[in-house]
Amino acid sequence: MEKEDILKAVSSVIDPEVGVNIVDLGLIYEVNIKNSNSVDIKMTMTSRGCPMHQYLIDEVKKNIKKQFSDIEKIDVELVWDPPWTNEKMSLAAKKQLGWKNEK
């Protein structure tokens, strides 16, 4: 199990308002695989005033569990530093949300 595999599982979590997955939105800051059955994730939200954080954390855990049933411990920590900016969005997300000529 690699970090990329975890990110792939997490990218099934879609922000319901904008329809873009949270990995492409740049909300996932860190993925640490401690051992074969434990994962630590650091993620952020675009706004501190948004009440969706717990829902998204639950979804992240659910989607990892779905793909890797042998993982027993998933810790998701909500962090605010560094603050999210649109520079963290992937090119795919930007394209989906109408940015043109982005490299």
Binding site: L25, G49, C50, P51, Q54, G98
Partner: protein
């Protein structure tokens, strides 16, 4: 109980049902009396139902124990004064709750010092001031702009937050800022001269609706599918109704009672605010109450019905047809109930599948 937030749900529903029941009384249906009187319809909708729901949403986001006193006090105070007519003490609770809500927004803005939080904080300030004036005995039409301002600034702050995912020039942001501050100033001018303020309000509100039409993330999400597209269509209706409300205000001037007042208020409350609520109900249920809602195209039924019945209501108001106004108003109430039925069914479906 594992999910304590769910304890709020029955109270919020009672406040909404009270607001809807008093709506029917205000429309002239011959129904048993309401303890606090039909006159509380506006306060029940804005202060009780929306005030409690929005402050709960903020408390969940802030994850601070004290912030929950805002929805607790607002809901308890509303039940005391606006539902059961138990006198002044409930109004004191409402004021206390709205000041805590404002304090929560100050905390949030200090933690994340960005324009959209400032806008929502200004909205919560309008709510607190409006509620203090309401508790001191000022009539609803005198403070209506502060209350509307609270809801509009809260929604526009949230929309502005999402525009950060869009490529927007600095020039556009500065224009948006100017429009927001102009709009905010009209809310307080209304306390000195409501008729002059109404024109300023109308101008900035229309301009803001146009600004958001061009800059909101809906420009991209309307081309998507499923829930993002549904949300975008609801917002699009919301901006359209904002323009209609502004035009009504410019053409007829501000009237503090009667048919034109009804048309103006409901263009904003149902057209803008409830269109927003209709499309965000799945997100609120998932985020605040942690009850995932399975999105369904069936949701378009209540969204479109809201637009049709509101158009009928506003048209009947403007041509002064009381009978049609009454029945379109009744249909508005049914549409809101349908929203809850549809959403509850989708929560049930979601649970069954998971």
């Amino acid at each position: 109980m594992k999910n304590k937030i769910l304890l709020f749900l029955p109270f919020i529903l009672i406040l909404l049902l009270s607001a809807l029941y008093t709506a029917l009384l205000r429309l002239g249906f011959n129904l048993p009396e309401f303890p606090a009187g039909a006159i509380q319809h506006g306060p029940l909708m804005v202060v009780a139902f929306l005030g409690a729901l929005i402050s709960l949403e903020r408390a969940v986001a802030l994850q601070l124990r004290w912030a929950y006193f805002a929805p607790i006090f607002i809901a308890a105070g509303s039940l005391m004064s606006l539902v059961f007519n138990l006198g002044f003490v409930g109004l004191v609770f409402i004021v206390a709750g709205s000041i805590i809500n404002f304090a929560g927004m100050i905390y949030l803005t200090m933690k994340q010092n960005l324009l959209f939080n400032w806008i929502m904080m200004l909205g919560s300030f309008c709510f607190a001031v409006g509620n203090i004036l309401f508790a001191s005995g000022m009539a609803v039409p005198q403070i209506i702009f502060l209350w509307l301002g609270y809801l509009i600034l809260t929604i526009l702050g949230e929309r502005l937050e999402l525009t950060r995912m869009r490529p927007i020039s600095k020039k556009q942001i500065n224009l948006g800022k100017f429009l927001i501050y102009g709009f905010f100033s009209s809310l307080f001018i209304s306390l000195a001269s409501v008729h002059n303020a109404a024109l300023i309000f109308a101008f900035f509100y229309i301009a803001l609706a146009i600004w958001f039409y061009f800059n909101d993330i809906i420009r991209a999400t309307i081309k998507a599918a499923g829930q993002p597209r549904f949300t975008a269509i609801g917002l699009l209706f919301g901006y359209l109704w904002s323009i209609i409300a502004g035009v009504i205000l410019i053409v007829y001037g501000f009237q503090n009672t009667g048919y034109v007042y009804d048309a103006f208020i409901h263009s904003i409350m149902l057209g803008f605010v409830f269109s927003m609520i209709f499309v965000h109900a799945p997100i609120v249920f998932a985020g605040v109450f942690r009850q995932p809602v399975k999105y369904s195209n069936r949701f378009y039924i209540h969204l479109i019905l809201l637009q049709i019945t509101l158009a009928g209501r506003v048209y009947s108001d403007l041509v002064i047809d009381n009978l049609f106004r009454q029945w379109f108003g009744f249909a508005n109430v049914l549409t809101i109930l349908l929203l809850f039925a549809n959403t509850a069914f989708s929560v049930y479906q979601g649970k069954k599948e998971s």
